[in-house]
Every structure is written in C-alpha cells, then in structure tokens.
C-alpha cells in the first residue's frame, strides 16, 4: 500500500470520575495509559503521535501534534493530524482503552479498506460503529472539516456520516473503556494476571432481580474483578443501576469492586438498601 498509515492517540482531558487526567494513570508495568497507547499504535503504524490540546504546555517524550482549534472535541485531533500529513491515513485511538491489544489493532489494519472513508469496529454492545479505534482515510478529511466548521465535534456522528467498512471485534472486550477507578483496577488486574474463564454463581436482589428476570444463574466470565463482572452483567442482563449505587458481596461477605474473582465464587449484587 503506497499510502502511509500513521497513528494518533487522543489523550482527552481531565476525567471527572477518575479525579485526574486519565492518560497519566499507570496501567501496567509502570506504563501510563498515554505511554501504552503510543506503544500500541507503534506496533501497526509507521509513526505514531500524541494528540495534544491547543494550549497544552506539558513536555512529552513522544512526537506530538497540537490541536488547531480550541475545545473542539476529539475530532479536532484528527483534523490536526490531516493538516500535519495530508497524504496519510490515520489510525485514531483513545487512551482510555486499557483492554486494547496489538492483535486487535493488527486485525483492524489487515481488514482496512482504503476505498472507504474509514475502517472501524462494531460496538459489542449496540453494533454501532466505534469512532475511537478507527482508520480514517485522507478521503474523509473534507467531511471532517465541514463537521468541525459547523461546530459538530461528535466522533460517533462524524463516523456515521462516512462510507466505512465495519468489522467485528476479534476480542470482544478490546474496546471496553475505563471511566472509573474500578474499571481501571479491572484492566490492571487482567493485564497483570491475564484473563481466564471462571464459573461464577451470580445472584440478583430487589430491582436487579426484576431487571434480570431471575434470582441467580451460573455464568462463565473472563472478568477479573467484581467490577468487571458487574459491567458485563449490566450489559447482558439490562441492569438498571449505576455501579455507584450498587454493592457487592462475594461468598456472602461485602466486598470491594476491585475484589479479584476466583473460580466458583458466588457474587451477589445489591441495589440500594431500603429496609426498616
């Protein structure tokens, strides 16, 4: 392929729920999410860059591309990347994808269709195209300029407006993101210990029992922590609560969400208590 493929990592801003800049968080083996993201992009692209805000004056130990617009959202990073190397196609990823692996990126690159504007994965949750682990061809540049000049910064909407090749995720959880400390712990533990399949006895109480339509079930999961399991069950069973309002017990003892699950554990999910 004569068109070069470069990578750009969107590092985002401060995370309200994490209480700090997510990109600074150490995810595995002393690497921050930012460093790991750049390293991952480097496995499949000729050159990878960190996208930085228009007014970001920090020093980074990797090549950077500065936003041309202020506060224009994630797609401003792609705009600046096209301005930097208009001839290239750009693989865009976000730094808060702790489960992303080189093999998933390789799969995307191998299935790239340069005749489309973009090659992307389908969300494992809703089947919609995922905009933040996507190859954008230079043919998408004009549409991008147009969206941004109309003040439309939504990455998902932009991708939906393009011609694209959509592919299935080879690793289901690869694009699960990380918005809370519990998600980060799940990612750290699974990166450190690897993912293994466990049999879990899951119990639902109160409104969660009604959501799930059952009291309990035997499931197989790759989740490493109770938080990882919650995220999985929330999606698969349509549970209506947010993790902040739910408590968990492992083997009939109250546990933290970062509790590491073992084969044959019993995990009980409690909605907000209302006894008395």
């Amino acid at each position: 392929m004569s068109v070069p493929l470069y990578g750009i990592l969107l590092a985002g801003g401060k995370s309200i729920r994490m209480g700090c800049d997510k990109a600074d968080l150490v995810i595995v083996e002393g690497l921050s999410m930012r460093e790991r993201g750049i390293q991952l992009l480097g496995t499949v692209t000729a050159q990878s860059y960190l996208s930085i805000g228009e007014d970001d004056d920090r020093i980074y130990n990797c090549p950077t591309i500065r936003d041309l617009r202020k506060n224009a959202g994630p797609m401003a990073g792609l705009e600046s990347a096209f301005a930097h190397s208009p001839e290239a196609a750009w693989l865009v990823t976000a730094c808060d994808l702790p489960f992303l692996t080189p093999s998933t990126l390789k799969h995307l690159v191998e299935h790239r269709d340069p005749t489309c504007n973009a090659t992307c994965f389908k969300s494992r949750f809703d089947g919609n195209p995922e905009p933040l682990c996507t190859i954008y061809e230079s043919s998408s540049r004009a549409a991008l300029e147009q969206s941004l000049s109309h003040g439309r910064g939504c990455a998902r909407r932009f991708l939906s407006s393009l011609t694209r090749r959509e592919i299935e995720l080879p690793e289901l959880s690869a694009l699960d993101n990380c918005n809370r400390p519990e998600d980060l712990e799940e990612a750290r533990q699974s990166l450190t210990h690897g993912r293994s399949i466990k049999r879990i006895h899951a119990e639902y109480c109160g409104v969660l029992r009604e959501n799930a339509g059952l009291d309990s079930e035997e499931i197989k999961t790759e989740a490493t922590t109770a938080a990882g399991l919650w995220e999985e069950l929330r999606m698969s069973r349509g549970l209506s609560l947010e993790i902040d309002s739910v408590r968990v017990a492992v083997n009939d003892e109250f546990s933290s969400w970062s509790h590491q699950l073992l084969d044959e554990d019993k995990v009980t999910l409690f909605p907000p208590f209302s006894g008395g």
Binding site: F125, M235, D252, F254, P272, F273, S274, G275, G276
Partner: protein, 144 residues
Amino acid sequence: MFRLTTVPIDPTTLRNAADNPHAGAVSIFEGLVRNHHEGRRVLRLEYEAHRAVAEKEGRRILEEATEKFGLDYAGAVHRTGSLEIGACAVMVVVSAPHRAETFAACRFVIDEVKRRLPIWKKEFYTDGSSKWVGCAGCRGTHQH
C-alpha cells in the same frame, strides 16, 4: 439476637428476652407499615432480604451496639414478604442499666439496620402501581 422472619413479629417474646436483673431500662423501637409515602397512598409493602448476608451483618450491628453502649441485651427482628398497613416491619429491643444508653442504642441499631442490611421494600399503591423504594432516579443511561 438478630433474625429475619416471614411470620408476624410477636412483640412480647422479643420484649421478654430483654429481661435481665442487671438492667434498669428497656427501650423498644417498632417500625410500622404506614399508608402513605411521599404523598402517595400505600396499600401494602413487600420486603425482600438476602438472608445470609443480612443475618450476618445484623448480628454484627447488635454486637457493636452492645459494646458501644454497654448493653445487657440487644435484639432485632425484621419481617420479609408481604405486609399490610399497620403491620410491624422491624422491631428493636435493648436493655441496659440506665435509660440514656438504651435510647441511644435503640436509635443506633435501627439506623444501622436501615443503612447496612441487604433488605429492600417495594411499595404497592392504591392506584395499582408499585415501586422499589430508594431506587428513584437510579435508572441511569449508559455512556460509552
């Protein structure tokens, strides 16, 4: 002594368990099913509990109260299942040498029971609808 029960709470039995020659005061709290909540007319309640965790945690609360207030006795019973208006949903009985400790301990126990025990109530209203209490506004939308 903490337990969950599916049959009506017998107040006499629980009260008598607090008798102790060392005790000069007994305080009792009874939580009853009322016919209104947040302006809506309530027909009945349904209580659900996670038995294993609730009983374990309930015993811990009573042990903590006994230690903290120097009690001679601490007991609590919580109903589960369907309860009509006026029924007793929860009863706490404590005894100690003096009343200051029993009043404070009784309050402590019911507050901790409400805060810490995996028990849920669903309200059934006169208009035929029903709602899990404490879950208002919990139905969040997921953002990727």
